[in-house]
Amino acid sequence: MSKPALLSLQQTLRKSFHNLENNQKIWTTVLSECSPLMESLGNLAEQLRALSNVQISNTPLRNFPDLEERLRFKLLQATDTVLGKLNDKMSALQSVRDAISNQVSAVFQLYEQNTDSLDLLTVTERSATNPSTADMLEWLQDAERYYRQQFLRRKTLLQTLRADDLSLLESTPKRWKSLESPGAEERITDTLCKVSFFMESQ
């Protein structure tokens, strides 16, 4: 049993959980900022659908030159703007994912470097205030996987959008919402709860 290796690992674990806590907040904030953008997207899709359903030449608007093209242009332009803003949000989410991934891989690297000095007994030892190292490593890995998958799914969703595919555009807000995973989010919050004493100690 090597004390220094364990202490160093615990230090890094603490840092990782602080990192996770901060990034969880950022992630939640950025995601909530996506909601009004998704609503706008759905709204614009609805307007584009209505425009394609209406035969302008059969309406009182028939005498306005190129009205349909002009309106469509404006709607597509507005759609572009919203997609641009969503892209910015995705960049922010990517930063969160990267921050968490980097920190977690650093902690695992440290663990692997010291496996000789950290035997099974040490790694599974827990106390009233400290969960076991094994558990903490597992929780960090779970959290990292969650954010990695979430980012990938959301990014893929947005990347498959095409301005000329109206039904894709219309279904986007719903599909975006379906990616929510309240259970997994709660597990991360639980994790942070379980390590709260550990984070404060030393």
């Binding site: 209505a50 009205l67 309106l71 404006k74």
Partner: protein, 213 residues
Amino acid sequence: MEGDITVTSSNRKCSAVTGSARKIKDNAADWHNLLLRWERLSEESFPIAGNIVNLRLNSSQSKQLQQQVDEPLLPSSAPLQPTGGAAELQDECCKLQDILNNMVVVVMKMERLMVSQRGVLDLEEFQFGPEGRKVPLFHSWTTKQFGDSFRVLLDAFRQELQLKQTILQELAHTVTSDLSLVYLSCWLHQPFIPPQTRMMLEALLLETGHRPL
């Protein structure tokens, strides 16, 4: 504040000596103010237009529901009219008409600016011949270019106003949700106002010295 007409001593080219330069600079400031006024009126009008559509669609839906309820039971009785809705609808239409009347005034003022600009160009052609003055009044635009910019803006707003007037007449009578939504889209997105309007206005203000270069 933007739009205030102050003679800046830093911009010697816009001296008050030449009446034409003063006139064009004032016109540019007026255009800016008119554009802002239009934008404000537009923003004010959109929720009202939305209300009108909702009231109309809801009332036609409830009429349909009422008919469905009444017909099987009492085929001879007339369906109940939701009178509360009609008064509110009338109200909203009046509000929208008021806003539109203000927009008509805006376009009228734009037309007057066009006339004034035409006058400046005519004077220049009289003084300097058909090619106009050799040295530009400001940085680089010819007097004709000012007129051309104004014309583009005027035509766009005239067309947009006509569209809004047509929509206003139809909005309260349209029962199909698709067409109603198209009307609202047109009202909000203003298909005839070119996307580069803001940029044209900024260019105008830069040229006449209202904005620092």
